[in-house]
């Protein structure tokens, strides 16, 4: 997922430069100065404008005199990071020792030999601190390759002022959402009813996977042997998405929308509903960037009428991987054990304003600190993308390119789905 690409790029870039320079400056001094102390290099992506990574490193270094963690904050674009890390790790570099990766990476990185099998490195009880779903997503062939660190998911944002004025409850089905949108659009209070991500990129795979799950289907079969897109569920999901554009509920330019475009539409006060990730909350409440401060509510995404509520939400968030060539695996493990324990995890909520992955740290207090995201997150029905195959990047491209073709009217729905289906099948078959 391109979650990382959504975060505040300028601040992040500044932080990356500052921290990167700092890391270069100190690494040489420390390795030689004391025989006892071990330096491990930690590579993360910018999370948001908070100082969460720096604060975590300071806290760890203070409490662990024998291990020094050097932080490097990489670029915001998750695909750039994948390119950088795969080149570096693939050529056998011992650093970074620990790196943050996307939730879609474990299978691919495991198969490519870029991530250490963590199953034997941590005691079996270690994994109990996370939700079983999060642990499973970080596995490939039953072995764990990533330690969940913080949690992110897709939400429905809505204009609570407009719904209240119209006397409408928060919609729980897609049919209700469309009807509400049309009603309020007709009054002229908003131009657009529902804004979402329809551009040809990973975000569209997330959007589409959610709707296919709502319709009772999936992208691939559970055992990753067959593509299951060209089905009634796949068609229903695509019908719905196309329908929102055709009926004027969603803007014409939706097939070019990524998160920032939909967010701009929403914060400008032009849209009634928006699908977006939790990072967007803070921006909708920032008076310098938003015209809808105090008018926004968050809820789980709707589902299709007749299906159990709520609708599916794609999960995101970050996991930590260990470099298979790291010289200090013992220290890496110690660091990650600390990072996912309740103290450090509470910092993710209090400092980083994101929900921790450790379930014991997902306290009411933490939920309070994170804002409405924290309260709604527990109600979500998290549905993962088919990331259990090392060919996930190809599967996802087959989905988003063909769905985008259909959305922009360059292919019929049936052409798009049959093309996607055969491309997914060939990606699965190539592994």
């Amino acid at each position: 997922m391109n979650l990382h690409s959504l975060r505040r790029p300028l601040l992040a870039a500044a932080a990356a430069v500052a921290v990167g320079l700092g890391a270069v400056g100190c690494s040489a001094a420390n390795d030689s100065s004391s025989g006892q102390q071990v330096t491990i290099n930690w590579y993360v992506q910018p999370l948001n404008s908070t100082s969460i990574w720096q604060d975590l490193v300071a806290a760890f270094n203070k409490s662990h005199p024998n291990i020094k963690v050097n932080l490097t904050v990489g670029p915001t674009n998750v695909d750039t990071v994948r390119g950088t890390l795969s080149t570096e790790l693939g050529s056998g570099s011992a650093t970074p020792d620990v790196y943050e990766g996307d939730v879609t990476w474990p299978a691919q990185f495991a198969k490519a030999g870029l991530a250490l099998d963590l199953t034997k490195e941590f005691p079996a009880s270690f994994w109990n601190r996370f939700s079983p779903g999060a642990v499973k997503l970080a596995q490939y062939n039953g072995e764990s390759y990533s330690v969940p660190s913080w949690t992110e998911a897709a939400f429905m944002y809505y204009r609570k002022d407009l719904l209240e004025q119209a006397g409408l409850p928060v919609p729980t089905t897609w049919e209700e959402l469309v009807a509400d949108a049309k009603k309020i659009q007709a009054t002229g209070a908003v131009k657009d009813g529902y804004t979402w991500q329809g551009a040809g990129y990973e975000g569209l795979t997330c959007v589409y996977s959610e709707l296919v799950a709502d319709a009772g289907g999936s992208i691939v079969s559970g055992d990753y042997t067959k593509a299951t897109l060209n089905t009634a569920a796949g068609t229903k999901a695509l019908d719905f998405l196309k329908g929102t554009i055709a009926s004027g509920v969603s803007p014409n330019a939706t097939p070019t929308f990524q998160e920032p475009q939909s967010l701009n539409d929403f914060t400008a006060g032009n849209a009634l509903f928006m699908r977006n990730w939790s990072y967007a909350w803070a921006i909708t409440q920032d008076p310098s960037q938003s015209k809808v401060v105090g008018k926004v509510g968050m809820a789980p995404l709707p589902t299709f009428a007749g299906q159990p509520e709520p609708g599916a939400s794609t999960n995101g968030g970050g996991g930590m991987f260990i470099n298979p060539h790291s010289k200090y695996v013992k220290q890496d493990v110690e660091f990650l054990t600390w990072l996912t324990d309740t103290d450090a995890q509470s910092m993710f909520a209090s400092v980083g304003k994101v929900l921790p992955a450790n379930v014991q740290a997902q306290t009411p207090q933490a939920q309070q600190e994170v804002g409405p995201v924290g309260q709604v997150l527990a109600k979500l029905k998290i549905v993962g993308r088919p990331v259990g195959t090392p060919a996930y990047s190809q599967v996802s491209r087959a989905v988003f390119q063909n769905v985008n073709s259909a959305l922009s009217g360059n292919a019929s729905e049936s052409q798009a789905l049959s093309a996607a289906d055969s491309q997914v099948a060939s990606a699965l078959g190539s592994q």
Binding site: D79, R82, G83, S86, L89, G90, S91, G92, Q108, A112, G113, L114, A199, G200, Y201, P251, N252, A253, T254, P255, T256, Q261, N264, D265, P324, H325, A391, S393, Q394, R397, Q401, N402, N404, S405, L407, S408, G409, N410, A411, A416, Q423
Partner: protein
């Protein structure tokens, strides 16, 4: 240079012949005629050896940074590459990656798009570039300022200008839409980038904005070498502007045109950054260039062998084009 040297030695030979008449014929035939020439040859061979010796460090660097990586990527394209415990493992699999690539409809679609894009964008940019160059060539004042300004789009990093163009072509609040709406050309914003033709034109406009100045500068350099008296003479002979352009200007700047076309084709065929930023290959995969496929294979799918194969195919296509083009325009002849 060598012609002058031979000429000089022949003159000396004549002198020799006059003074030593007895074996003159043999002198002319072989002796004095060939002696200095073979000396020249010896000197040439020696200086050539020294030249090779002196330039060999530079040649080695060039080999290291061009030939070695090229050879290595050809090798990669014939391998399956896996990362192992001690770095990459290479398993030789022959032409498997090429077979996969050539069977893939995605690769053919990308090749088709890239070829079409190259032909259209280079043609448009050459025409516009020639127009701009002719205008600057006629300017009597401010040429320096205009040349400097022309460099601005060319010097701007494509990722940055691509981002600017994506704001301009934005389907909701873009500048292009704003202008179209306030001038009542359209009633509602147009989503340029969500149909293939619109996306293609957007790419073409953004690319031309950047590269027309490049073409113009090269052609302007050629125009400056033309002797103005030729124009005056042609006018006296009654040639109109059109005839002057087709019969004097264009033939005389042929070298510049060839240079610009070759450069532009190489760049256009390898286009990556602009569609990456502006359209991300979309809508669907309508504007996915062959270089983007290479990027996807290498850095998203971590499929190094396959990515290298696509990249070798691209290079081969470009080399074939360059050779055919240079041959068609007889570049060797026109050097003389």
């Amino acid at each position: 240079m060598s012609r002058h040297a031979n000429g000089a030695s022949l003159l000396v030979d004549d002198g020799n012949q006059a003074s030593t008449n007895s074996n003159g014929a043999s002198l002319i035939g072989s002796g004095s005629g060939s002696a200095p020439r073979s000396g020249t040859l010896r000197r040439t061979a020696r200086s050539r050896r020294r030249g090779v010796l002196l330039s060999s460090p530079a040649l080695a660097v060039v080999a290291l940074i061009t030939v070695v990586p090229i050879a290595f990527s050809i090798y990669l394209s014939l391998c399956r590459v896996d990362a192992g415990a001690d770095g990459f493992d290479y398993t030789f699999i022959g032409v498997g990656n090429y077979a996969t690539a050539l069977r893939s409809p995605t690769v053919w679609a990308a090749l088709g798009f890239t070829a079409l894009y190259t032909v259209i964008s280079v043609s448009v940019e050459m025409l516009l570039g020639l127009g701009v160059a002719l205008v600057i060539d006629r300017m009597t004042k401010g040429t320096g300022i205009v040349l400097g300004l022309l460099l601005v789009p060319w010097a701007m990093i494509t990722v940055v200008s691509g981002q600017l163009w994506s704001y301009i072509f934005n389907g909701v609040y873009g500048l292009a839409n704003y202008l179209l709406v306030v001038t009542h050309i359209v009633s509602a914003p147009v989503s340029f980038l969500s149909n293939p033709a619109g996306a293609f034109v957007a790419l073409l406009v953004a690319d031309s904005w950047k590269t027309v100045p490049f073409v113009a500068l090269i052609l302007f350099g050629g125009l400056r070498t033309i002797d103005r008296e030729l124009y005056a003479a042609a006018r006296l002979d009654g040639a109109g502007s059109g005839r002057i352009l087709t019969h004097i200007t264009i033939p005389l700047i042929r070298q510049s045109i060839i240079t610009a076309v070759v450069f532009r084709v190489l760049q256009a065929f390898g286009i990556f950054d602009l569609p990456f930023v502006l359209t991300n290959g979309g809508p669907g995969h309508a504007t996915q260039s062959i270089a983007m496929l290479t990027y996807n294979a290498l850095f998203q799918d971590l499929n190094i062998g396959y990515g290298a194969a696509i990249s070798c195919i691209t290079t081969l296509v470009v080399i074939i084009f360059a050779v055919l083009f240079l041959r068609a325009f007889r570049v060797e002849d026109s050097v003389d």
